[in-house]
C-alpha cells in the first residue's frame, strides 16, 4: 500500500532532492564568499586588529632634563613619584576594593571613586590612576596587601624636584598634565593624554629640549590583559638640560632682600644681556603644581593681595616714575634743549595754564642744573624740559632704547609696556594730545608703563653708553652627560646713537644719586664699588595728601634702577617694590644687596673676611661702611 502510493511520487521527490542539493550548494557557496571577504579581501585589516588585540604599548616617560644656574648648580631635577593605579577589568567588586583602599591608606574614597569613573572608557586593561604622589609608606602598605587588592598597581614616574624650594619659582615655572586644548594644538602631535609638559616659565619655553623622547614597551597580553612577554622595547632618551644665565647665589640674595614685600627685580650683565637674577616676589612652591595642590594653599595664593602667582618681572607693567627722567634728560641733551649747565629755578611747583604741577619737594630745590636734577630728582626741571620737548620727542628717545615693545626675553606672556605719543592717544582715545599731559610723562607718570625687564635694559644701555642687548635667560643647552649642545650668545638689538659724552653727563648725575650728599639713592651704596642709579616712585592713585594711613593697595610703588661699578659697568639692576612708597628707602637697599651679592660672588676665595672698603677713595664722602639699611632711613625723603 504504502509502496504503491510512493512510487507515483518518486520522480517528483527526486526532482525536489535535486533542487534542495542546489540550494544547499548555494548556501555553502555564500559561506565561502563571506570567508573570502574576511580572509582574503580584509585580511590585512583583521590582521592589524588581531595585533592590536595582542600587543599593548606601554609608554615609558622620558626623564625630563634638569635646569641649572650659570655655575652648574642644579635648580630643578627629578625624583621618583608613586601613583596608585587600578585595572578595572581585574576588579570584581569595586566598592569593596575602594573601601579597603580608603581604610588601608587613609585616602579620600569619594575622590578615588570619581577618578575611577572618569578613567572609564579608555582602552581596556589600561590602568586608571586613583591617586598620584602617594608616600613610600603607602606604597609599602599596598605591596604588603597585594593579594587582597586584586587589580591594584603601583606606578612609578619621575617628577620634578625643586632643589631650592621656591627659589626663582616664576622663572623656572612648573609642569602639569597636558590639557585638552594643548593636545589639539599644533606642535603637540607627539603628546598623549596624561603626559606632563611645561606649563610656565623656562619649563614651558624650553619644553622641546627638556622633554626628551618617550620610550615604550610593546607587551603581549592575553584577553584578560595579563602580560605574557615583552615583544619589543625602546628606551626613552633623557631630555637635555638647560643652563641658565641666572646666578643662584644672586637670585637667593635678591629674594631674601625682598622679604615679605611684593615686587620684582631683574639683574643683567650690561655688556651681554645675560640675566643674572630674575625675581618676582612673593614666590610660590612650583612642586605643588606638579603634584597635588592642597586646596588651602591654593586659596591662600589666590587670596593674597600680593598676587604670588603673577610673574611681576615679566608681566608687571609699572609707571617708571623718576627713573624715566634718564630718558627725558637724554632727549633734552640730544635735542640741544639743555646742556650740563642749563639751570632751572625750582620753587616747589610749576604752573602751566591753569594747572599747577607740584615738585615732590614742596619747598623747592632752588637753582637746579642737570646733575642736581638727577641727584635730587627735581620734578620741576623735567616739567619744563618736557614742555619744551613735547611728548613725541620723549617717546622717540624711549624708542631708541627699544621701550614700548617686549624685549624678547624668551618667556611667554612678556608685556610690552607703553610709551605714549600724540598719535597713540588719537588712535586709542580719539582725542588729541594736551600739552599738560606731557609733563607727567616727562617724570615717568601718566600713561608711561614699563616692565622690570625694560627698566633693567634701559639702565644697562645707559651704563654701556648706547648698546641695547636683548636680555636672555639661557646660556646653553647640555645633554644628560653635560656635553654642550648649543651655546647662546649675546645679541645686540640696536644702539641709541647718542654720543658717549651725553651719556657721561647723565651717568655723573646717577653717580651723584647714590654717592653724593642729598642724593636719593644712598641706600644702594656699596663699600668697595661705586654704584650709580636712579630712584623712583610711581603713583598708584592720583594726588593724595594724608600720608600716614594710606591703605596698602593705594601706596606708591618704589623703584630703583642702577649699575656698577660706575667706572666700568658690569651689572645693571632694576628693583620695584609694589606699594613700597619710596624708591630710596624701599627699592634702593634691595638693589644694593643684589649688587653686593654679585661682587661677592666674583671673588669667592676670600669674600668672607674682606668686608671693609677696598679701593674706593674717589667720590665716597660720608661713611661708606654700612651699605644699605641705615642710610636709606636717613634719606627717607626720597622723591615723590
Amino acid at each position: 500500500m504504502k509502496e504503491q502510493r510512493f512510487v507515483r511520487e518518486t520522480s517528483e521527490s527526486k526532482r525536489r532532492i535535486l533542487i534542495l542539493s542546489f540550494v544547499v550548494g548555494g548556501i555553502f557557496f555564500l559561506l565561502l564568499l563571506r570567508l573570502w571577504h574576511l580572509q582574503i579581501l580584509s585580511a590585512d585589516n583583521y590582521r592589524n586588529m588581531s595585533e592590536n588585540n595582542r600587543l599593548r604599548f606601554v609608554p615609558v616617560a622620558a626623564s625630563r632634563g634638569a635646569i641649572m644656574d650659570r655655575n652648574g648648580t642644579v635648580l630643578v631635577s627629578n625624583q621618583p613619584s608613586f601613583s596608585l593605579a587600578v585595572v578595572p577589568q581585574e576588579v570584581e567588586n569595586k566598592d569593596e576594593l575602594l573601601d579597603r583602599l580608603a581604610k588601608l591608606l587613609g585616602m579620600d574614597r569619594a575622590e578615588m571613586s570619581e577618578r575611577w569613573e572618569k578613567g572609564k572608557g579608555r582602552a581596556k586593561y589600561y590602568p586608571i590612576i586613583l591617586a598620584s604622589n602617594i608616600s613610600r609608606d603607602q606604597v609599602e602598605i599596598v605591596e604588603e596587601n597585594h593579594l587582597r587588592l586584586p587589580g591594584v598597581e603601583i606606578e612609578m614616574k619621575p617628577v620634578r624636584e625643586y632643589a631650592s624650594g621656591v627659589l626663582a619659582a616664576h622663572l623656572l615655572g612648573y609642569i602639569g598634565e597636558i590639557s585638552e586644548d594643548e593636545l589639539n594644538a599644533k606642535g603637540f602631535e607627539e603628546y598623549n593624554p596624561g603626559d606632563y609638559l611645561g606649563k610656565n616659565g623656562i619649563e614651558r619655553s624650553w619644553e622641546k629640549e627638556l622633554h626628551g623622547n618617550d620610550g615604550g614597551r610593546q607587551l603581549e597580553v592575553d584577553a584578560r590583559g595579563r602580560v605574557l612577554r615583552t615583544v619589543s622595547e625602546s628606551y626613552p632618551t633623557v631630555g637635555n638640560s638647560v643652563v641658565l644665565t641666572i646666578d643662584a647665589r644672586i637670585q637667593k640674595q635678591a629674594e631674601k632682600a625682598f622679604g615679605d614685600q611684593a615686587g620684582a627685580a631683574v639683574a643683567m650683565d650690561v655688556n651681554t644681556g645675560e640675566v643674572l637674577a630674575f625675581v618676582s616676589n612673593p614666590g610660590f612652591d612650583p612642586a605643588l603644581f606638579s603634584g597635588k595642590m592642597p586646596a588651602d594653599v591654593w586659596k591662600e595664593y589666590l587670596d593674597d593681595k600680593r598676587h604670588p602667582l603673577e610673574n611681576k618681572a615679566l608681566s608687571g607693567q609699572y609707571p617708571p616714575g623718576s627713573t624715566f627722567k634718564v630718558i627725558t634728560a637724554l632727549a633734552g641733551l640730544e635735542d640741544g634743549k639743555i646742556d650740563e649747565n642749563t639751570s632751572v629755578n625750582c620753587n616747589g611747583s610749576y604752573e602751566l595754564g591753569s594747572s599747577t604741577f607740584k615738585c615732590w619737594n614742596k619747598h623747592g630745590h632752588g637753582v637746579t642744573n642737570l646733575k642736581k636734577s638727577l641727584r635730587e630728582s627735581c620734578d620741576v626741571y623735567y616739567y619744563q624740559l618736557g614742555e619744551r620737548l613735547g611728548v613725541d620727542r620723549i617717546a622717540a628717545m624711549a624708542k631708541r632704547f627699544m621701550l614700548g615693545s617686549p624685549m624678547g626675553i624668551g618667556l611667554a606672556h612678556e608685556k610690552a609696556g607703553l610709551i605714549p605719543t600724540a598719535e597713540w592717544k588719537l588712535k586709542r582715545f580719539g582725542k588729541r594730545w594736551f600739552h599738560g599731559e606731557t609733563l607727567p610723562v616727562s617724570i615717568g607718570q601718566g600713561y608711561v608703563l614699563m616692565t622690570p625687564i625694560q627698566l633693567v635694559s634701559m639702565i644697562a644701555t645707559v651704563a654701556n653708553e648706547g648698546n641695547v642687548y636683548r636680555p636672555y635667560l639661557v646660556k646653553r643647552i647640555v645633554d644628560a652627560d653635560g656635553k654642550p649642545l648649543r651655546e647662546f650668545k649675546s645679541e645686540l638689538m640696536g644702539t641709541t646713537g647718542i654720543s658717549a659724552d651725553k651719556f657721561k653727563l647723565v651717568k655723573q648725575g646717577l653717580f651723584a644719586v647714590v654717592n653724593e650728599p642729598g642724593g636719593t639713592g644712598a641706600a644702594a651704596r656699596l663699600s668697595d664699588v661705586h654704584v650709580a642709579g636712579k630712584t623712583g616712585s610711581s603713583q598708584v592713585v592720583k594726588l593724595r595728601d594724608s600720608k600716614q594711613a594710606t591703605p596698602y593697595q593705594y601706596r606708591d610703588h618704589a623703584l630703583f634702577v642702577g649699575f656698577a661699578p660706575y667706572e666700568k659697568p658690569e651689572i645693571a639692576v632694576a628693583v620695584i617694590v609694589e606699594h613700597g612708597e619710596h624708591g630710596g628707602s624701599a627699592a634702593a637697599p634691595i638693589a644694593g644687596r643684589i649688587l653686593r651679592a654679585w661682587f661677592d660672588s666674583k671673588k669667592p676665595p676670600k669674600k668672607e673676611p674682606v668686608r671693609l672698603k677696598g679701593k674706593g677713595d674717589e667720590g665716597t664722602d660720608d661713611e661708606p661702611e654700612p651699605p644699605a639699611k641705615k642710610q636709606g632711613v636717613n634719606e627717607e625723603n626720597a622723591d615723590d
Partner: protein, 366 residues
C-alpha cells in the same frame, strides 16, 4: 539479526566523511584548549572517546530497522513532551537556563533529543498524507500543532537556538514534501499582523532591546557584540594560509569565547586560513549532499523523509554555527556537528548518522 546483505551495503562514504571531520575537529580542539588549565583528561582525548562512543551508537542503530521509528514515533514524541515539561519543573539550572534533567548518574537534555524525534514524527505524519499538488493549509494544521508544543516548551527554558533548529528542521521536511503556494501565502498573511501585534503590544521595551541586540550584536560592543568582533578578527586575520597550528593569537591568548565548543570553527579559520576553511566546508558540503543522495536513493517514503530530516538537522547546525562565527548570524549556542567539543552534540549528530546509515544500508530491501 544483521544479515550478510546489510553488511555488504555499509555506506563507507558516509562514515568516511564523518570520520574525516571528526579528526579535524579533534586536532582543532587540541589547539583550542592549549591555553586552558586542564584538569583530568585533555579535551581532545575526551572528544575522541565521544567519537568512538558515537560510532558505537551508529552501530547499534544500524542493527535495528529504522521502521521501528515509524511504529513508535508518536510514543517517543509523547514521552519527550513529558520530559520537556519535567525539565521546566524539576530541571537543573545552569548558566541562566534550565535545560538538563538529572537522572542521578546521567544528565539528559530532552530538547536535544527532540531534534531527532520531531524528524521521526513529521516523517511518519507526512508518510500518511496524500499530497498531489503539495500540502494545503488544512494538511499543515496538525503538524503545526505537533511542532508548536515542543518549540514553545524549549523557548521557555529558554533555549532559543534549539527552538529555532527544531522549527527549521520541521520546516525543511515540509518544504521537501511540498507546500502549495496558497499555503505559503496564507501563512505570510497571518504572520505579518501577528508579528506586528506581538512587537508593538506584547513586548516590553527591555525585551525589544534584547531582541534588537540579538539581531544586531554590534549594538552592544561588550556582550555578544564583543564575541562576534573577536571571532571575525580571528577568522579574518587567518588570511589565505592561516597562522599555523597552535599559533593563532586570538585563540591562544583567549580573545575568543567558547573557543573549543561553539567558536571552534573560528580557531580553525585563524590557524588554517581560507584554504583550511575551504577543505572543511567542502567536507560538510559533500556530507550534506550525500545525506540528500541517501534520501533520493531510498525507495521508501518514510525513509526518504527521515533522511531529509536528518540531513536538514546537520545542514542547519553547520550553517547557523558558521554563519555566527563569521558574523552573518546572531550569537546562538549552536555547535558545529562533529567539530565542536561536546558529548551531547556528538551523540545527537551520531544518532542522525546512524539513521542515515540505517536507511542507506536497507535501500535495496524494498
Amino acid at each position: 539479526m544483521i544479515d550478510r546483505r546489510l553488511l555488504t551495503n555499509i555506506d563507507w562514504m558516509l562514515i568516511g566523511f564523518v570520520a574525516a571531520i571528526c579528526l579535524l575537529g579533534i586536532m582543532n580542539i587540541y589547539s583550542a584548549t592549549t591555553p586552558y588549565k586542564i584538569v583530568g583528561a585533555p579535551y581532545y582525548l575526551k572528544q575522541l572517546y565521544w567519537v568512538l562512543f558515537g560510532l558505537l551508537v551508529v552501530t547499534v542503530i544500524c542493527s535495528l530497522d529504522y521502521h521501528i521509528l515509524e511504529d513508535f514515533s508518536y510514543w517517543f514524541y509523547g514521552f519527550l513532551i513529558i520530559l520537556l515539561v519535567a525539565v521546566l519543573v524539576v530541571g537543573r539550572r545552569s548558566m541562566g537556563a534550565t535545560r538538563w534533567l538529572s537522572l542521578g548518574f546521567f544528565n539528559v537534555q530532552p530538547s536535544e533529543l527532540m531534534k531527532i524525534v520531531i524528524i521521526a514524527t513529521f516523517a511518519k505524519y507526512f508518510t500518511s498524507v496524500q499530497t498531489v499538488n503539495g500540502l494545503s493549509v488544512k494538511d499543515v494544521l496538525f503538524p503545526l500543532g505537533i511542532l508548536a508544543v515542543p518549540v514553545l516548551l524549549i523557548m521557555k527554558q529558554p533555549d532559543l537556538g534549539t527552538a529555532v533548529l527544531v522549527l527549521l528542521i520541521a520546516l525543511s521536511i515540509a518544504v521537501y514534501v511540498g507546500l502549495r503556494w496558497s499555503t505559503v501565502v496564507t501563512f505570510a498573511v497571518v504572520m505579518v499582523p501577528l508579528t506586528w501585534f506581538g512587537w508593538a503590544k506584547l513586548l516590553r521595551p527591555y525585551q525589544k532591546d534584547r531582541i534588537l541586540d540579538f539581531l544586531n550584536p554590534e549594538r552592544s560592543r561588550l556582550g555578544s557584540g564583543y564575541h562576534i568582533i573577536q571571532s571575525k578578527i580571528a577568522v579574518g586575520s587567518g588570511g589565505v594560509f592561516g597562522k599555523g597550528f597552535v599559533k593563532g593569537t586570538q585563540s591562544q591568548l583567549r580573545f575568543l569565547p567558547e573557543q573549543h565548543t561553539d567558536f571552534a570553527f573560528s580557531v580553525f579559520a585563524e590557524e588554517w586560513g581560507f584554504i583550511g576553511c575551504l577543505v572543511l566546508i567542502v567536507l560538510y558540503l559533500v556530507l550534506v549532499l550525500w545525506g540528500l543522495n541517501i534520501a533520493r536513493r531510498c525507495n521508501d517514503r518514510f525513509g526518504s523523509l527521515l533522511a531529509v530530516g536528518v540531513t536538514a538537522m546537520l545542514f542547519w547546525h553547520i550553517v547557523i554555527n558558521m554563519g555566527m562565527v563569521i558574523g552573518l548570524f546572531p550569537v546562538v549556542g549552536v555547535p558545529l556537528p562533529f567539530f565542536s567539543y561536546g558529548g551531547t552534540s556528538m551523540i545527537t549528530s551520531m544518532v542522525g548518522i546512524g539513521i542515515l546509515q540505517n536507511i542507506s544500508m536497507r535501500r535495496f530491501m524494498f
